[in-house]
């Protein structure tokens, strides 16, 4: 394996993880907010459904996606009419990674939002901010630690996604071969040295992501949580 191949696999993995995380960020955060702030009929069923990709075997998720997105699936036909190919492209890897990462981010967001005292939001409303402004200026900043950790978990889960990805994206070198898939196929080929090099790249990526997240959070002990002012009633 050349440095170019290693970079190609690492770059693809990074791209898959970044695209997957970025794509699920808005809906997963929105859903987390919904679960944290509203009660409605069928909420626990909805929560269980969202958690499903987390508890199902990834291969089962992959099969479901394959049936859904494959050319004979209900959505695959639509894509191919539009001239878009998904299955066995890196988009498929990103979709698989996104789907398995979604529950992690949604659940972490839900918990982070639930920990935000709603009185801050009410106060912000009285200061003239619309609900949307309140979300971006108060709720999200107060929950940012939890949401960011959720995004980090989803991202690192995406980096390591194997089961679902192998089914919907295949292991096509240079196209869909992410680090996890590359490690597996190289172990199968008894190329242990290359497999270890890919493992090292995985480790470096995960470590970099975690350090970046920690740096972003600033390590400020009390800055992120509203703990300083709570419990004084």
């Amino acid at each position: 394996m050349t440095a170019g191949e290693l970079a190609e696999i690492t770059g693809l993995t990074l791209r898959v993880g970044a695209v997957a995380t970025a794509a699920i960020l808005p809906p997963a955060v929105a859903l987390g907010l919904l679960f944290a702030r509203r009660s409605f009929r069928g909420k626990s069923i909805a929560q269980a459904l969202v958690a499903l990709p987390m508890v199902l075997p990834p291969v089962a998720v992959g099969l479901a996606l394959l049936l859904l997105l494959g050319q004979r699936g209900p959505l695959g036909g639509l894509w191919s009419r539009l001239g878009i190919e998904i299955v066995f492209t890196w988009w498929a890897a990103a979709i698989a990674a996104g789907v398995v990462g979604f529950p992690l981010l949604a659940r972490a967001s839900e918990q982070a939002f639930a920990a935000v005292d709603p009185s801050y939001e009410r106060l912000a409303r009285t200061l003239g901010l619309s609900p949307l402004q309140v979300f971006f200026r108060v709720t999200l900043p107060l929950a940012r630690r939890g949401v960011l950790y959720g995004a980090l978990f989803a991202f690192t889960r995406a980096l390591g996604e194997f089961g679902a990805t192998a089914l919907v994206a295949g292991i096509l070198p240079g196209r869909t071969e992410t680090l996890a898939l590359g490690i597996y196929s190289r172990v199968q080929l008894a190329e242990d040295g290359d497999a270890l090099a890919l493992c090292a790249a995985s480790f470096a990526l995960a470590l970099a992501a975690m350090l970046l997240a920690e740096g972003w959070l600033g390590g400020g002990a009390a800055s992120g949580t509203p703990g300083g002012e709570r419990g004084r009633r």
Partner: protein
């Protein structure tokens, strides 16, 4: 230097659009080394063309093709796999090429204390695990065909360790996870600690053929057809034979 190259390549890759003259060739994993050489030769002859190789069990690759993988050329280790795809209209039969033949060998791990000289030796109690792929994989199919022919399939079946494809079978015996394994003669060349114990006799050998065809919906149909055709040419044939493959047997003699 490797690190710098890695970073540069990574940066280039993150911005890289999909190549225009790119061929994705999916091939039986046993063809790994010679096909890599053939692809390089092909790239040298076709300026701008880039051949991307994906190796796996022929059955896995066929499943991917059926599911819509963007493959341009498929090379399988048996005729049936491609025939089935052709029946589904997924590969072009008019460009189909038989490029090579092969033989089965029995590998013994370095740890196995007894010598193996014939099929019946596989039944000895010291041979606790025998590596081979599942039935759907061409090698698995060929291995079972041979064992059935010598009347050992049923009695040895409990000792089977199922591997993913030909190279994984080799790796399993090399690593000592299995005491013996059934692989192609060509794969045995890549063995590190395992050794060829014996070669089933010509009479026992199943008929092994490698067949290539372009996919019906290849993105670069002309280039795909050229690549398939190139496999039958003399230079490619020399490379295959040098790697231990047999020349393509006459298909009609089946």
């Amino acid at each position: 230097m490797r690190t710098a190259g890695f970073v540069l390549a990574l940066a280039a890759l993150l911005a890289r659009p999909a190549g225009a003259d790119e061929l994705l060739v999916a091939a039986a994993v046993s063809l790994r080394e010679p096909l890599a050489t053939i692809a390089r030769v092909f790239e040298a002859e076709h300026t701008g063309a880039r051949v991307q190789l994906a190796f796996g069990a022929s059955s896995t690759l066929a499943a991917q093709a059926r599911a819509g993988a963007p493959l341009d050329v498929l090379i399988a280790a048996d005729a049936e796999t491609l025939d089935a795809l052709a029946a589904a209209g997924l590969v072009r039969t008019d460009r189909r090429v038989v490029l090579a033949g092969n033989r089965l060998v029995v590998l013994a791990s370095a740890e196995l204390r007894i010598p193996l000289a014939r099929a019946a030796d596989l039944a000895r109690p010291e041979v606790r695990r025998i590596a081979l792929p599942e039935r759907g994989v061409p090698l698995g199919h060929y291995a079972r065909e041979w064992l059935a022919g010598v009347g050992l399939l049923a009695s040895l079946a409990p000792r089977f360790v199922i591997t993913e494809h030909a190279r994984a079978t080799l790796a399993a015996v090399d690593a000592g996870h299995a005491d013996a394994g059934i692989v192609y003669a060509t794969d045995a060349r890549a063995a590190r600690s395992a050794h060829v114990a014996f070669i089933p006799t010509a009479g026992e050998q199943p008929r092994i053929v490698y067949v290539a065809a372009p996919l019906t919906n290849a993105r670069a149909p002309a280039l795909a057809a050229q690549f398939v055709a190139a496999l039958a040419r003399a230079d490619a044939q020399r490379i295959l034979v040098a790697a231990g493959f047999l020349p393509p047997p006459d298909e009609t003699s089946r």
